[in-house]
Assembly symmetry: C2
Homo-oligomer: 813 residues x 2
């Protein structure tokens, strides 16, 4: 264990850096720091050719200094090792608020001016570089999509390592250097993401080099990892499966040498591991190296300002010093601080970086700011897709055949997997729910990724498995994002209720995509695809805690141009939707589908047309053709569709003269006005379908409010009556879940009776019959624990059958 403390070892070693090299690297670091401070503070006078005055300073100071010098320090050292070893490396910075540093480095190595020609490599360009930062019409304060070389904004902390590993999967030649803030390290997602090393194959995946940035502080507090003993810290990372290397100090000269020699060692180790795995195949999980970099927060800024500790303290986190326009002393301090980087040694009179410094950066696409992996669309190759029609469920008559939709989807995905095995650009992600959600057939052609210990009776675990299962929704999401952002494809399957765990990560990704749409040099990437199954209506083994269809509401808040929501009513529709999602770009696609045996409604041909349209009249279930309907029965989601059809069946029997139009909705966004969503129906089409004034009974998979918010502008909105989940449930029967939420066939019929004037005279008797039926239901299930045979045995258009179809085996069968 003591072998990892560099300080001890170094004593006997020759210096890695020559004095000249060290001086140059230090100068490069100072240049990045100078440009970073300039971005935060300066409006003009970028080279400090004039004496600094408040007029040169921005009116509002917005940005973060504290993390930046550390990020810059790492940057120049990574540059050295990239050049030395000819590495293909990208840089992910967890504390993305260090935006000025990453922008500064992209500028120093020329990428910035290539991408944004207006930000030239001269005094004028430097001035613009400074002004635009955190400035209206300029660039945001974080390592945002606007920043070349970024796949990680780092605004919301916690996902750096998951992104890094996601980027490394299937990129055997890539090394992802990943800085983790010591504050960030306290977040849950980050704390578990260290374990990603149990899923990385040294032979066919790239490497991740985590660098814990132990600058001691977060916004206003010390960090936990900075305040435990060296021994505990060392234990922690060994426990996580890494070999930690400590680089600790604050003297630049010593630190340069220490960092350089450590990187030599660490990269040597990484190369050794990889070479070994390539030559000899996977043997056992390597103990990958990681670096603990302990430096002062705000390193190189004034030690104290106004008598208050600033460097090496939380006070340097944002803008270490304000009141620049009121306090002339502060202007002097700033000038001194910036001059301490000796700008004249760094930039020539025209503002150009001196050539011997410029020479330190790697060239072309080896520059981390220009590495194509960080603009994944550049590398994106289309998936080879089998013909989804070949997986169709045969539907000889409506609802007579039963299938588990997601299992059918799993078969299709199996062959998608198979066709792209060679290309190695497709993975599936799930928090231990791949089989529970019925994608197990995929395991016929690949395995679950696993490089931890195994036992002989293990089930489909292998180092090169392409199904990623860790019990962390955060990891699944983060890995998948990293995988997509570097130009690959994937699908995430999750229990519907627990997808809320990554609500906030979804937000960040949707925002990223939205911004990318406005950045011409960012090339489209594959969509982030969710299958939400084990959904609210069929959480049979669990209950109330597992019932929440609200992710749809959450998603609907994001920009219409990046979100899509699909609720296929049966397996063939699900196949069509799946194919569509896998072909799409720059979206988040949310697909909700059940895993339980359920009646199948549409032939493949019908399904394709239905899904293409997104919604439509089911003519075979309607009887209003050629006339006007008395009522529109709309449905969206598999269970609501079943209940709607059963209600229509009841109506046909008991009120055969009633004209019913059945509309099924697959693409939820069709309901929105065309002005709100690119998929939205025109008002004209909407009125034609939903009528201008007839009652619409809408059975919806999710919370009813979502339908209202999507349709409130429509002509007939006042007559749209929605049933959906209203937060009632427990561990009970499938049909009882519908009854508890008034979504069952009987309630739907009752809704029709209440709203169709011509049924009024029959209303009292009919409603009493319904009431009695619901009491029968309650009595029956409390006695027998299962739904009534007339419910489970119901078939479209047939006299009530008797043999119910029950749920399949348990989740882990």
């Amino acid at each position: 264990m003591s072998g990892s403390s560099i300080t001890d070892q170094e004593a006997n070693m020759a210096n890695v850096l020559s004095a000249k090299e060290q001086n140059l690297m230090d100068a490069y670091w100072r240049a990045a720091n100078y440009l970073s401070v300039g971005q935060i503070y300066l409006y003009d006078n970028p080279l400090l050719k004039q004496s600094l005055t408040k007029e040169h300073i921005k009116p509002r100071l917005l940005g973060h200094w504290g993390t930046t010098p550390g990020l810059n320090f790492i940057y120049v050292h990574l540059n050295r090792i990239i050049k030395k070893l000819g590495l293909d490396m990208i840089y992910i910075t967890g504390p993305g608020h260090g935006g000025p540093g990453i922008v500064a480095n992209a500028y120093l190595e020329g990428t910035y001016s290539e991408v944004y020609p207006n930000i030239t490599r001269d005094e004028e360009g430097m001035k613009r570089l400074f002004t635009q930062f955190s400035f209206p019409g300029g660039i945001p304060s974080h390592v945002a999509p606007e920043t070349p070389g970024s796949i990680h904004e780092g605004g919301e902390l916690g996902y750096a390592l998951s992104h890094a590993y996601g980027a490394a999967f299937d990129n055997p030649d890539l090394i992802v250097a990943c800085v983790v803030g010591d504050g960030e390290a306290e977040t849950g997602p980050l704390a578990t993401s260290w374990h990603s090393n149990k899923f990385l194959n040294p032979a066919s995946d790239g490497a991740v080099l985590p660098i814990l940035h132990l600058n001691g502080y977060k916004i206003a507090n010390p960090c936990v990892l900075a305040r435990i003993s060296h021994e505990e810290l060392d234990h922690l990372f060994r426990g996580y499966g890494y070999t930690p290397y400590f680089v600790e100090g604050h003297e630049p000269a010593t630190m340069h040498e220490l960092m350089a020699s450590t990187l030599d060692k660490v990269l040597g180790e990484i190369q050794r591991i990889k070479a070994d795995a390539r030559q000899n195949g996977f043997g056992e999980r390597p103990r990958w190296p990681m670096i603990v970099l302990r430096t002062p927060k705000g390193w190189t800024c004034p030690k104290e300002i106004d008598g208050k500790r600033t460097e090496d303290y939380w006070r340097s986190h944002q803008v270490p010093m304000g009141e620049m326009h009121e306090n002339p002393a502060h202007v002097r301090i700033l000038e001194e601080w910036m001059k301490s980087y000796k700008p004249a040694e760094l930039f020539d009179d025209s503002g150009r970086l001196r050539p011997e410094l410029a020479d330190l950066a790697p060239r072309g696409t080896r520059r981390m700011s220009a590495n194509p992996h960080t603009n994944g669309g550049l590398l994106l190759r289309e998936l080879r897709l089998p013909n989804f029609r070949d997986y169709a469920v045969d539907v000889p008559s409506r609802g007579a055949v039963f299938a588990e939709s997601t299992r059918v989807m799993g078969r299709f995905l199996r062959d998608v997997m198979k066709l792209n095995l060679e290309e190695r650009n497709f993975r599936l992600f799930s928090p231990d729910e791949n089989n529970s959600n019925r994608w197990q057939d995929v395991l016929e052609v690949t395995n679950r990724a696993w490089v931890a210990e195994t036992v002989p009776w293990d089930d489909h675990l292998a180092p090169d498995g392409r199904v990623m299962e860790m019990l962390s929704e955060h990891q699944c999401q983060g890995w998948l994002e990293g995988y997509l952002l570097t130009g690959r494809h994937g699908f995430f399957s999750c229990y519907e209720a627990f997808i809320h765990i990554i609500d906030s990560m979804f937000n960040q990704h949707a925002k990223w995509l939205k911004v990318c749409n406005g950045i011409p040099w960012r090339r489209p990437i594959s969509s982030l695809n969710y299958l939400l199954s084990s959904h609210v209506w069929r959480q049979d083994h669990n209950g109330f805690s597992h019932q929440d269809p609200g992710f749809l509401d959450h998603v609907a808040n994001k920009k219409a141009e990046v979100v899509r929501i699909y609720l296929p009513p049966d397996a063939n529709c699900l196949l069509s939707v799946t194919d569509h999602c896998l072909r799409s770009r720059n979206y988040v696609n949310v697909v909700v589908a059940g895993k339980q045996p359920a009646p199948q409604w549409l032939t493949m041909d019908e399904a394709i047309k239905h899904c293409e349209a997104g919604l439509g009249i089911w003519e075979w279930a309607s009887n209003d053709r050629g006339g006007e309907p008395d009522v529109v029965m709309a449905c969206c989601g598999d269970v609501p569709t079943l209940e709607t059809l059963a209600a229509v069946d009841l109506l046909r029997r008991h009120a055969p003269d009633l004209k019913v139009r059945v509309i099924n909705v697959v693409n939820l966004m069709k309901l929105q006005p065309a002005s709100e969503h690119p998929h939205g129906l025109s008002d004209h089409d909407f009125d034609a379908l939903f009528t201008a004034e007839k009652p619409v009974i809408f059975a919806f998979h999710g919370y009813p409010a979502l339908i209202h918010r999507l349709t409130y502008r429509r002509t007939n909105h006042k007559n749209i009556h929605v049933r959906g989940y209203k937060e009632e449930g427990s561990t009970t029967t499938p049909f009882d879940m519908c009854v508890l939420n008034d979504l069952d066939r009987f309630h739907l019929v009752s809704d029709v009776i209440d709203r169709v004037p011509k049924l009024r005279e029959r209303a009292a008797y009919a409603k009493q019959a319904i009431r009695d039926k619901l009491i029968d239901h309650r009595e029956y299930i409390c006695r027998y624990g299962d739904d009534m045979p007339e419910i489970t045995g119901w078939r479209w258009g047939q006299e009530a059958g008797s043999a119910g179809v029950r749920s399949t085996e348990a989740d882990n069968a």
Copy 2:
């Protein structure tokens, strides 16, 4: 390090358990296991007096076996140590799907029959116990609110340890035994929650005893922690700051002895730590013990079923064997399995637990199922509250005084803290944002909790601090929940955007509260209070990634009876709302308020009335008194209120004859129909306020859709035109954020012009002037980086001032 492996040490030690004691404990464990299997499978024949037939078996088998025998094993051992040492202990089981085990134990120790008299301690009661489990009209499958002794449902995995620590804070005599599933341990929230030990004061808090339940598997995969070396596992927990004790094996006899001796040791260690801290005060952070319990998943069930590995494998996770009604061999296996527990030795003929076994359980409230800490309302004491009126901001004229609302709130909270210091029942929680959100005054009377290392220049860190700051929203939420569920009070402050991180945890808590409302023996607990600040309109230092007001939409999906949403427009309203939240019970209260200097509108007296009403006409800003308004200007949220008033001011100047009614909304739920939410306005009152047909321009803090979904049933809904956040933003000026989202005063005026018929003739000129103004704005901010003086200097009812009020210092000042 080697000192912690019990197996080594035990060799030389005398047995802790006598043979008799061991036999009794094993019998007790078998009884719990028997009852657990019975709950999962049996419908009748509870004592297996008859030969088992399929008629005795439930039609649908729903539940989880795999984790249960382990939970039961721990339970009987905790009982022993509780009795032996007279402990006050509660039991939190991360894998809450082990419901049958916890219910079984509550039944064995009598609590269950006390709480549910129908479930008697005899054959008939046992039959009911079995039947009701996961059965319609019965109880859910998890350790739900219905389960006596539970504060943790464990349906969504990951929060066990946070809850445990939350329960332990300020309960110096309490020991919280907390089982963590090895699958659960992979979740992010759980992975960081081990670090809670840096925040627990051994002198004045209780103790947490984590037990990692290393049964090797989750639903369908092995677990990471079960597949790393012993050394890594040991390192990991030492790295987390614990001393791990390993209890590993599967032979019941050996395991009983090992577990008992380990618990003796571990509890001895806990008691030593606590005694030391009490006598000598806090010295340094103790290395608390924790237990790694490695046993087979599904322990004691058939090793194989149908030739497939079942015990010690994932296949035992749920119901290890199905097809009970089709496969007679399975019925035989079940019978054999249940008989292997030797029920006749455990229960007498009447089904009563044999007295020598019953004797093993602790008595009265020392039974973990009857410990009052698990029904926190029993222990709840009201907070002492200062008079919030004393903190009022003086408002001599409308909008002339500026204040930072949340800072004013912080002063009030400081004194709440002070008044309850002695009672030790109030804490504040924040992910490193306490000061950023302007609650720093609280630190005048208490500190931040911290037992990790310190340095002399640290800022308000102390072992007995009552401000809980770790950079983990999950931890803040989990700790607070644990604290509230055990009968105490708290407030959580968070950046508005990042509260989505705990969307899913909020769901679980709201569901818990909803269910509790229907359980008479569950006593009301203090509400879970959120302050969301650094909100979407004023995320000055950050930008797009930090802008998301959608938590309100998320919350609005939950049962109306448990959620409340407040958006006070100024500091005095915030004070009134805060006081109200702290007095309330069984709710989740969400309060959104800004931290930046903002104009103050209402005197304290007015604020109280306004908040009490929840919404109302601001008469001083309206000019329609005695007549009908031409337009209603509604606003909700501090920034929308400012923009609305500025728009009204413009209208007054430029269209003085226009009759404007200004309505401000504090309590968002007032907008809903009374039928949907207990706070909802009657339609009559709503119509009176918002009129039946006049245009309503509604400026809203959040996503506009939320207002529509709350009001779509109202008479005048078609005329309600909402402005709010529409996912546009970056790092820019505060006013520009409004402009980007069409929420600014100019757009609002423009909306009025578009919608009020009598303004039509003036429309063209007015709208051109507005267009020009917005171009001026854009030009100005891109040049100067700050808002135009006429914007920042605007004051209600005055000619445009000139001195703008800018944001205060940075987040960490």
